[in-house]
């Protein structure tokens, strides 16, 4: 474990240049020293600002992302439309911004809910062991090995009305968003579940956990106050990396016409629209894909840097 150094008597007896550092400030220092990871973080923040400032920019320029103008199709860049207009005369830049907001929201919400589900399953499997553990881990292995995209396509094609959801809910734009978050969670929880289970198994044999058990602490108390806080680092890393994967899943589903549905823009469905126009207006197919690529690679660089900062042995320097 990385925090051993802090309790090292030799290190402690040396005069410290500054106040004793917490594990987290050490990690932050290591992360900050990693230029690639920080580059990823900065790029991600820029993309977030770009995406979430859509309403502000739309108001400032007086442009509505869903406003069509058939007299201004495929316009070039202008003061009003900075990146020109698409095949329906809609402002490309504003649609990219709004689409980015949706892609990022799906990515973050999906990653968090997958982490939550995975943590609960991992804690239960690791703590109770035995039959519960072997059943849960078999399911996990099964889901990991499955061809996920065909499965996601079937999930996405499900008629929610058959599950008893109301018509009104289906017609609101929210249904689309929640549906995609839920189906991605269904296939994405496995990484965190395995990591948390492994951490739980190894932490359970520590003395402080045995002591807590001997004092009669409940399973919930042990899991929440002794085990979970010590298993947080792998959860953070896996959740960060999941954001990128989820954005890729969302974009491919939207691209296939099964994720976020038009007129709500998402980077995926903008590419679907641009696919037929690849000869007429190739730039329309370039922007959304480049933004997906930039976002996902930023997340991956940052996540990889986090991993190295949390567990220096995993690095190769």
């Amino acid at each position: 474990m990385t925090d051993l150094a802090i309790h090292d008597p030799v290190a402690a007896s040396e005069p410290l240049p500054q106040a004793a550092r917490s594990v987290w400030s050490l990690r932050w220092r290591r992360l900050r020293a990693n230029r690639v990871a920080m580059g990823g973080l900065v790029l991600l923040i820029i993309l977030m600002i770009f995406s979430f400032s859509a309403p502000l920019v739309g108001w400032a320029l007086g442009v509505d992302p869903n406003h069509t103008d058939l007299l201004a199709r495929f316009d070039g860049a202008s003061a009003e439309h900075w990146l020109g207009t698409d095949d329906a005369g809609r402002d490309v830049m504003l649609r990219l911004m709004v689409g980015g907001r949706i892609s990022l929201l799906v990515g973050f919400t999906g990653a968090l809910s997958s982490a939550l589900v995975g943590t609960v399953i991992g804690l239960v499997a690791g703590y109770y062991r035995g039959r519960i553990d072997s059943v849960l881990m078999r399911v996990t292995d099964g889901v990991i090995a499955l061809p996920l995209l065909p499965l996601l396509i079937v999930f996405a094609a499900i008629d929610l009305k058959k599950l008893g959801f109301s018509d009104a809910f289906m017609r609101s734009g929210d249904a689309n968003f929640y549906r995609i978050v839920v189906i991605i969670t269904l296939v994405q929880w496995t990484t965190v579940a395995r990591l948390v289970r492994a951490a739980t198994l190894s932490l359970l044999s520590r003395e402080y956990v045995l002591a807590a058990q001997a004092q009669g602490a409940s399973a919930r108390h042990i899991l929440l106050t002794h085990i979970l806080p010590n298993a947080v680092s792998p959860i953070i890393v896996a959740t960060t990396l999941a954001v990128g994967q989820i954005i890729l899943f969302e974009s491919v589903l939207s691209f296939l016409g099964l994720g976020i549905l038009p007129p709500t823009p998402s980077w995926g469905n903008m590419l679907n629209n641009a696919q037929e126009l690849v000869t007429a207006a190739p730039v329309l197919a370039f922007y959304p894909g480049a933004l997906i690529f930039a976002t996902v690679i930023a997340v991956n660089f940052f996540g990889d840097g986090l991993q190295n900062a949390f567990d220096p042995r995993s690095g190769t320097e």
């Binding site: 990991i144 499955l146 996920l148 065909p150 008629d159 959304p288 690529f293």
Partner: protein, 318 residues
Amino acid sequence: MTRFIIRRLGEALIVLAVMSFVVYGLINLMPGDPLDLMIASNPGWTAADITKLRAIYGLDQPMVVRYWHWLTAALQGDFGYSRVFTLPVTRVMGPALLQTTKLMGLAFLCTLLVSLGFGIAASLKPGSRLDRLINFIAFAGISLPVFWLALLLIFVFAVWLGWLPASGMGTIGGGGGFFDSLKYLVLPVITLSLSQIGNLTRFTRASMIETMRMDYIRTARAKGAGPARVVWRHALRNALIPVVTVLALNFGSLFSGALITETMFGQRGMGKMIYDAVLGNDFNLALIGLLFASLLTLVATILADIAYAVLDPRISLS
């Protein structure tokens, strides 16, 4: 060994049975039901006719009963008709499977060669310029949306340069020779391979670096073995063992990639077949396609376990 294989195959059958029930349930939750198209094309039918038809096709019965009927028929080799292709499901599956095997096999070979080469090259001098370049390529490969990559390749090589066909599986009236169909596979294979090399390169590199730190590598060096001999004879063999497992576990991801690639390049393989079946409410075809894809991944994981045991005698399967 034989007992292990039999046990794993038995487990795979159980998993497949559970999967078939779950997938059957999911597919029944797709919009419409198998009679909708018939009803739409026969406006003269009365409500009573429809109820009667529902009873004839067994659609008025609960899902579990219908699943049982489907299962007993399927076990006797009757997978039903595909509605989209108006052919028995087995006749649609055959050519699609062949097409996917071609695409995935070629992409698998390319991925393997490139990733092993990149991974080993990067591991020789960790932190060097070459290592960082390969690392960047690997990250780019992982982060690229496959369908966008396909669009870019189509734009550059088919629309702009005009070197290669954008989609299809052979020139119409072009004889359909082997080289003709190969030309149509170039872009799909490149697309699919590029989407897969990232993970495998990173994994190969990590595995090689870990192996190179082992004591026996130091021993080999101390005995005077040259760098090439250390890498090829001593390190690589051991470093590749975990890579084999990852290769097999990646099968699902390779199949997902093939689905996108086939859809983008108009290749009638398994992936596109499943996609078309789901969009066209073709219940029978979607069901069998999904189950077959799952079966293939299950077999791949079993093969990985076997390969693992064969390559590393320390691992016992029992």
